[in-house]
Symmetry: C2
Subunit: 101 residues, 2 copies
């Protein structure tokens, strides 16, 4: 199991395009990555430009496949026009306990 929380900021004024890009990306992950167990784009209620992405992969191979995917290659150029590249923070996490259902 690999779990990631990625964070970055939407460029001010680009909220609509950014949401469209996130929806397209999430749909592509769901359709093409059987090893992706969760992939959720979220916006902070108090600071709506802040995005968090909660990602769970079955194993390291599934995580590597995500990074090498065609949809990831298509999503990356959004950093700049839609998302602030300087704001990106990626935390790799180990599960202690818990569940999804």
């Amino acid at each position: 199991m690999r779990t990631i929380i990625a964070r970055f900021n939407i460029q001010p004024g680009k909220e609509t395009e950014a949401e469209e890009a996130m929806k397209t990306m999430a749909a592509a992950v769901e359709a093409n990555e059987t090893g992706a167990l969760a992939y959720i784009f979220l916006r902070n209620r108090k600071v709506p430009l802040e995005v968090a992405v909660f990602e769970m992969y079955a194993d390291g191979d599934a995580f590597a496949a995500h990074g090498a995917s065609a949809h990831m290659a298509a999503f990356r150029p959004n950093f700049g026009p839609l998302f602030d590249p300087a704001s990106v923070k990626i935390d790799s996490l180990d599960r202690v306990a818990g569940f999804t259902r």
Copy 2:
């Protein structure tokens, strides 16, 4: 749907007790809160004292029930001896897109 990412730090030297407390809490949430759809304690790989909790509730009532639960009342006193109360950050989030499976 209510989604929360809570963050706080384990008190140095209290890792073992903190992990036990998190396991007990996660099991109680799973057993007693039908409205909790995800509840996962995670530790940062690079900064292992950092904990993140990814929480999804079916609705506001389920989130309120979590806060009012007996197991939450039992978990709270761990802030101080096991977890640093000054480190707590709680983000309330709105889902843009994504899935769990």
